[in-house]
Point group: C2
Chain length 113, copies 2
């Protein structure tokens, strides 16, 4: 499914997105590494094949963290339309579950931040 999706290359130290941004894309790391920060504090380091940024596509809330490339990084860009397509026709119980889990991550992140 990934072949038709855009790639984005971010140089070391470059930002994928910043805390508080609105978001309409998720990303899969094809090569490289990405750090997640709250303020100046790195709280996660993500490596190849990791997806991130997906929560904004589920609940529409602003980015809860900043994502910064640690090394030159190639990202597969997943636009909102792809996720919306996947969620179309899914049982409401499942979309509810997704929403709850996103809420849980956000409220926990708020306690870490």
């Amino acid at each position: 499914m990934m072949d038709f999706l855009d790639r984005r290359v971010v140089h070391a130290g470059g930002f994928v997105f910043k805390e508080g941004d609105s978001g309409d894309q998720a990303f899969i790391i094809q090569a490289g590494a990405v750090e997640l920060l709250k303020g100046e504090t790195v709280f996660a380091e993500l490596s190849a094949n990791t997806i991130f940024g997906e929560m904004a596509l589920i609940d529409g809330a602003p980015r809860m963290a900043t994502a910064r490339a640690k090394t030159e990084t190639t990202l597969i860009v997943i636009p909102r339309s792809v996720v919306d397509g996947k969620l179309k026709g899914v049982d409401p119980f499942v979309t509810k579950l997704l929403g709850i889990l996103v809420q849980n991550v956000r409220s926990m992140a708020a306690k870490l931040g």
Copy 2:
């Protein structure tokens, strides 16, 4: 969808489940209040209409926290079979997303605990 599901009544101070238990049920609070604890520390208080305990049904991992009734509480019991049924036929991308979100909640909870 809720009418055919079992109820469980837990007295004030009673445990719904304990950290480390294996889990094959999720719960919706119909009436009452539930506290979530890591060790002796309460990190969340849940009120009516909140679902909890759903993560074990998604990833099969042990309970990451203890759930204790704060007041007499009536729970709607969601067995694994109901969730499995809802997830059957769902696009693998969506089940992957669920798994990732559960992982994120667990790794953040580990940092809080």
